[in-house]
């Protein structure tokens, strides 16, 4: 995928009046060709969309390209958006479907390009406890744990990984996930249970009690 656009200059923030409008009003404006209104929508959801795609791909460049393509495709498809769901759910569907297709094509050339952990990770008491008490080697650092965790995530199927990323990492509710994945809540719960069981088995060395 091309990443040439990464060198584009920083755009000025959207006009303050747009920040006060709700999604429906912004979508209406964007449908009539108002790019500033769409810019505001991108700013609202860029972090959540990027995070989901990053947790799906475990690769920053892929997540960046897929997120940009999702926003561009959503813009071109705005006319077909009838408002039956929220713009957020509709956008998520576009991003997730595109990413699942991408991952199916990429299946045999997986590579990790993980982002560095931020400073807060070293001070998160839960994570500190995991490192000091539960790792097989006490010297194992957060970076190693991160790598093991992402490798385990990549062994899940795309749909199971998506459920874990949306629920356990991003904190979305079962109902929200069911709308994004276009399935019922029971399916989301069973996928989540199965995915957690698999992860627990793959990460058993890191999850044993002392």
């Amino acid at each position: 995928m091309s990443t040439s656009v990464l060198e584009q200059p920083t755009a000025p923030p959207a006009p303050p009046v747009l920040a006060t409008l709700d999604d429906r009003a912004l979508v209406r404006r964007a449908k009539s060709g108002d790019l500033a209104a769409y810019d505001e929508l991108v700013r609202r959801y860029q972090e959540r969309i990027y995070a989901t795609l990053y947790h799906m791909t475990a690769n920053h460049e892929d997540a960046n390209d897929l997120a940009q393509e999702a926003f561009i495709k959503a813009y071109h498809s705005l006319r077909s958006f009838k408002g039956d769901s929220t713009f957020f759910t509709w956008l998520y569907r576009i991003a997730v479907n595109r990413t699942i297709n991408f991952l199916k094509q990429r299946k045999h050339k997986t590579h990790l390009s993980l982002n560095d952990l931020d400073f807060n990770a070293e001070h998160d008491p839960d994570l500190v406890a995991l490192i000091s008490d539960k790792t097989p080697r006490r010297e194992a650092g957060l970076a190693e744990l991160q790598e093991k965790l992402n490798a385990a995530m990549l062994q899940l199927s795309e749909t199971h990984r998506l459920v874990v990323a949306l629920h356990d990492v991003q904190g979305l509710s079962h109902e929200e996930i069911s709308r994004i994945m276009d399935c019922n809540v029971g399916t989301v719960r069973s996928r989540l249970f199965y995915a957690r069981q698999q992860l627990q088995s793959l990460l058993s060395d890191y999850l044993k009690s002392p």
């Binding site: 656009v5 810019d39 982002n115």
Partner: protein
């Protein structure tokens, strides 16, 4: 002791590690600008095609959709009528064989009131007063009222008392 298969507390804490994987600094300050720049480079919003506009019109509120429907039905009926009249003008034989389609006869029948003599002609014989020798239904009865198939009605016998 191993984790219970249904107890995912430790796993969820471990998964929380993934929340500490941010993209490079300043990434989100540039992201929206890059998306908009790509959209502008592609030419912005493509203008909708005629069928997209038509489809949107059909998805309009019911009252508006009904009025669109009424206009479309009216146009279809007008077009059909025009087409028929053009065909009749072009083919006089067709008009002669199917008089009910003839524009003139339709218009005359629609505009002019029926004449009394035409309505009474089957009941009153114009040849003379009715008598036992000249029955009401004679051979001169117009074929279009009581004899549509062209059958002849003739007297067979009559025995006065």
């Amino acid at each position: 002791m191993s984790q219970s298969p249904d107890n995912f507390d430790a796993l969820q804490k471990l998964l929380a590690l993934k929340r500490h994987e941010p993209p490079p600094p300043g990434y989100f300050n540039r992201f929206a600008g890059q998306v908009i720049a790509r959209l502008e480079a592609e030419g912005g919003v493509p203008s909708p095609t005629w069928w997209q506009r038509w489809w949107e019109a059909l998805n309009a509120p019911p009252v508006l959709a009904l009025s669109y429907g009424a206009v479309i039905v009216g146009l279809v009926m007008l077009g059909t009528g025009l087409l028929q009249s053009l065909e009749l003008d072009a083919d006089p034989a067709l008009a002669a064989s199917q008089p009910w389609l003839a524009r003139d006869s339709i218009s005359v029948a629609a505009v002019a009131p029926p004449r009394a003599e035409v309505l009474l002609s089957p009941a009153v014989d114009p040849a003379g007063p009715a008598s036992s020798f000249s029955p009401v239904l004679g051979n001169s009865a117009p074929p279009f009222l009581f004899n549509p198939s062209g059958l002849r009605v003739e007297r067979v016998s009559y025995q006065p008392r």
